[in-house]
Amino acid sequence: MTTTREPVAQGLFTWPPTGSAPLRLIASECADCGLLSFPAATDCVRCASTASKERLLADRGTLWTYTTQGFRPPSPPYDGPEAFEPYAVGYVELPGELLVEARLTGSGPERLRIGQEMRLTCVPYTVRDDGTEVVTFAFAPVEEETS
């Protein structure tokens, strides 16, 4: 059985990822002052310019801080599965770009430490009634891939 996968929102990350166009977060870069915004924004929060261009962010960074989510968030707005699975979130510092808040793969704090290398990936965070997996961006510890 093939599972259909859909991104949680258009314009948030490149989709579908391919060999020549891997998964990347889509930011905007202010045409006037160069400030980066993620998610992409039409208004610059530094100079109030409304002119911007698309910019793909780096897919590697370091974990700046993190926490875990131990209870099911109020729904709506959360539309994850009724059977709650704890998850982790954190800020990943993309050097010279932005600190981006993201889901982290896994749920416990044990495998996470501030400063560790992280790589962009995606996770299905919920499944619709028709079987479609809804995918969001996430970061995974790099050391788990290489060990």
Partner: protein
């Protein structure tokens, strides 16, 4: 400019009051504050009222008297009550009124706040994927702070335990069961490193403060409390704030608390070393620790030793959240900052009963912080 002084404070208990509307709680708080000031409602010339849940909090005049005065509803997130008292004081300072009132009231349903992210200018996916939670920010901020400044899990638990013990001495507090450090460390982790008993909860309550011109205070009270400074600041680009899907890399940018605190000290001509008692936003135990430093009351990292030595306890050199803080009282958003001021006024008058701090306190400090990155500071003195 005329100085504003506080001549009356009133506090409805914080907790759960099934069947009692927020407006009734607010009216009770107003009556207590008016009685404390020895002033009848018809003499109040203007008021500022804050609430998150009540659409028209100025409907409170239906309980108090339709006197035709200007009543301004204010809302500024967790800084709502700080804003209400600042505006009430400003109306006196500028000569608009001789007698004003600041009122806060709220009645939140159980559990974490739920809202559509669009009300905060944030896209839907942020809420759908489980990121739109203020508790994440508090967990992540203290986790980084512990890493950078050597704060232990025990210190988080000590802060919570202190606040619950203080609340146990406060018959208007919500959580009056003292909890030990061990009991707090045994409660479930909600957002690492923060546990269930390290978080405050939204609840219900109201508070009010009556202010007048300093040169007329003698008509009402022998113990006026001076409003030395009020300051409010919003977040700057690059600061790490609640509900930020991203923020710029680079040198750390300070929180609006640091900015509001500095502005307030400067306005008051009072330094952190002069503060005798403080009320700091303790949304969670980690926030109280961070806010000690952000308000200039200690250096980053000093909290580990200060808290272990009991410096922030009622018997310590710098008592913090003597009434139990948000951990002990819960957070009806509109009323929270006025509860803080109520406690400081009692402490400066030396009428705080079982939780009265020792000596002759002269300077009290209150601080609020919340979404989307707003901070309010009030400095009061005898």
């Amino acid at each position: 400019m005329t100085e504003a002084v506080i001549i009356g404070v009133g506090l409805h208990p914080f907790g759960r009051f099934p069947g009692k509307p927020a407006l009734d709680m607010g009216a009770d708080a107003v009556r207590l504050a008016l009685a404390d000031a020895g002033v009848g409602w018809p003499r109040i010339q203007g008021g500022y009222i804050g609430s998150y849940e009540v659409a028209n909090p100025d409907a409170i005049v239906g309980r108090l008297g339709l006197t035709g005065i200007p009543l301004r509803g204010v809302f500024n997130g967790c800084a709502t009550a700080g804003t209400a008292v600042a505006l009430a004081a400003r109306a006196i300072e500028t000569g608009e009124h001789d007698l004003t009132i600041a009122i806060g009231l709220d009645k939140h349903p159980r559990g974490a706040f739920a809202a559509d992210p669009s009300v905060a200018g944030i896209p839907s996916w942020y809420g759908q994927t489980g990121m739109f939670l203020t508790t994440h920010f508090f967990g992540m901020k203290i986790n980084r702070y512990m890493h950078d400044h050597g704060i232990s899990h025990e210190t988080l638990a000590r802060v919570a335990s202190k606040n619950f013990h203080n609340a146990a001495r406060n018959d208007k507090a919500w959580r009056r069961t003292p909890l030990s450090v061990e009991e707090i460390l045994a409660s479930p982790v909600l957002n690492h490193p923060l546990r269930q008993f390290m978080y405050c909860g939204p609840n219900e309550g109201a508070a009010a403060v009556v202010l007048c011109r300093a040169d007329q205070a003698h008509k009402y009270t022998s113990t006026p409390v001076r409003v030395r400074a009020t300051a409010l600041r919003s977040r700057k680009l690059g600061a790490f704030e609640v509900q930020s899907p991203s923020f710029p890399v680079g040198e750390p940018v300070e929180s609006p608390t640091v900015d509001a605190s500095r502005a307030a000290y400067e306005l008051a001509g009072i330094g952190p070393e002069d503060v005798d008692v403080a009320q700091l936003q303790d949304t969670d135990a980690g926030s109280e620790i961070i806010h000690m430093a952000e308000n200039g009351l200690c250096k980053d990292g000093e909290q580990e030793r200060l808290i272990a030595e009991g410096v922030t306890g009622i018997g310590g050199r710098l008592p913090v959240n003597t009434d139990g803080g948000l951990l002990g009282n819960g957070e009806p958003i509109g009323a929270s900052g006025l509860r803080q001021i109520h406690e400081i006024v009692l402490q400066l008058r030396r009428t705080a009963g079982a939780r009265q701090i020792a000596g002759t306190p002269r300077v009290g400090y209150t601080h609020l912080y919340g979404a989307p990155g707003v901070s309010a500071v009030t400095i009061l003195s005898t």
